[in-house]
């Protein structure tokens, strides 16, 4: 009986040691120089990706304003200082729409998806930094 208990005890110890060793091995394996890269950005749905894209484009447009005191005439002007690439709407594969307007002396910008119906929306855009989806 006592011998059986000892066997169980040592088995548990071995399992715990194996788990710890395995965990340390994984941390070591993941710590190689070839793993020197940031975590990957993943989006569960293309709608989530669109929202992130619109947010990033909007920030870049506002940053452009900080440097130039005016909004860019087209999104391509955001490269290379503010964005690596402009990107397309993931669902349709077509470029995002960008429009500039001026109301009562104040400039406004809007970046919208070309076909919001794909996302079951009437409108999906970001205007002056505010995301609108309805």
């Amino acid at each position: 009986m006592r011998k059986k208990k000892l066997i169980v005890f040592f088995s548990i110890l071995i399992v715990i040691a194996a788990v710890i060793l395995g965990y340390v091995a994984v941390l070591y394996w993941k710590g190689g120089v070839n793993n020197y890269e940031p975590p990957k950005q993943t989006y569960a749905t293309s709608r989530e990706q669109v929202q992130a894209d619109l947010h990033n484009l909007s920030k870049a447009v506002e940053a452009y304003f900080v440097v130039n005191m005016e909004y860019p005439r087209k999104l391509e002007q955001l490269q290379p200082a503010f964005l690596d690439r402009i990107g397309n709407d993931p669902a349709s594969g077509t470029p995002y729409r960008y429009t500039l307007s001026e109301t009562n002396g104040a400039g406004h910008y809007r970046i919208s998806v070309p076909n919001p119906k794909i996302y079951n929306a009437e409108d999906l855009y970001i205007e002056d930094g505010v995301l609108v989806q309805k």
Binding site: L27, G31, P38, E62, V66, P80, D84
Partner: protein, 233 residues
């Protein structure tokens, strides 16, 4: 003809207002360049719809912030104070947007300058912007890390050095910048999440941004762009 003359006069007075504002601001805000842009509304009241001020290479806590803009909507300027005392006073406005851009190059220069000042020795310290992360690659002697933080990481020390990689996100609260480590590798070991959480607690906030006078704002947003850190209120 009268319409043309009146238009030219409005344009002239606006240009002169821009110049007066820039001159008054130069008195209190020391930076490389100041640009002012005012826009009048479409109505005949002559009220300003927006006032944008741009400051180039503005030192904040000793760091030359590449670009700072303050954009007022519906501003009312105290013209008496401007003309008599050469002082900028915005008596009312409906919105104020303050935005700052700090370039990757400025961060690198600032790191080199601070390391020299603090006698911080390192073999390698690379900084790279990969939105939304800032990537760091480093090789530093253990002695350069503060003893209280060293204790947390002592299990990872090899040959009295810390060599590795970090990917950080930045957050800002009440004009204080926080670093959020998303991934840290030290001497070939990926740091587990509990260690990252403890590290995050110890090093933060990494920077406090003081207010640029005479503007009243609190920075609350931070984003990483390809070549810049973008801060806004």
């Amino acid at each position: 003809m009268i319409v043309l003359l009146s238009g030219a006069s409005t344009l002239h007075s606006r240009e002169s207002l821009d110049g007066e504002l820039a001159k008054a601001l130069r008195k209190t805000v020391k930076c490389e360049r100041i640009e002012i842009k005012t826009k009048a509304g479409d109505d005949k009241s002559g009220d300003l719809k927006s006032l944008s001020m741009k400051f180039v290479s503005l030192p904040i806590n000793g760091v030359p912030v590449d670009y700072v803009t303050a954009q007022y909507t519906d501003p009312k300027i105290d013209l008496k104070a401007l003309r008599n005392a050469n002082t900028v006073k915005i008596t009312s406005y409906s919105d104020l947007a303050v935005r700052m851009l700090v370039s990757e190059q400025t961060i690198k220069n600032e790191f080199t300058r601070t390391a020299k000042r603090l006698n911080f020795h390192y073999d390698k310290f690379l900084i790279k912007f990969s939105p939304p992360y800032i990537e760091l690659e480093f090789s530093v002697p253990v002695s350069t890390i503060a003893p209280k933080d060293r204790k947390l990481l002592e299990k990872f020390v090899v040959n009295d050095r810390f060599e590795g990689y970090a990917a950080l996100r930045l957050e800002v609260r009440d004009s204080r910048i926080f670093a959020v480590p998303a991934k840290v590798i030290l001497n070939h070991f990926l740091l587990p999440m509990p260690v990252l959480a403890e590290l995050q607690k110890r090093v933060n906030p990494i920077y406090q941004l003081p207010r640029v006078l005479p503007f009243d704002y609190t920075l609350g947003k931070i984003d990483l762009l390809k070549q810049y850190i973008f801060l806004s209120n």
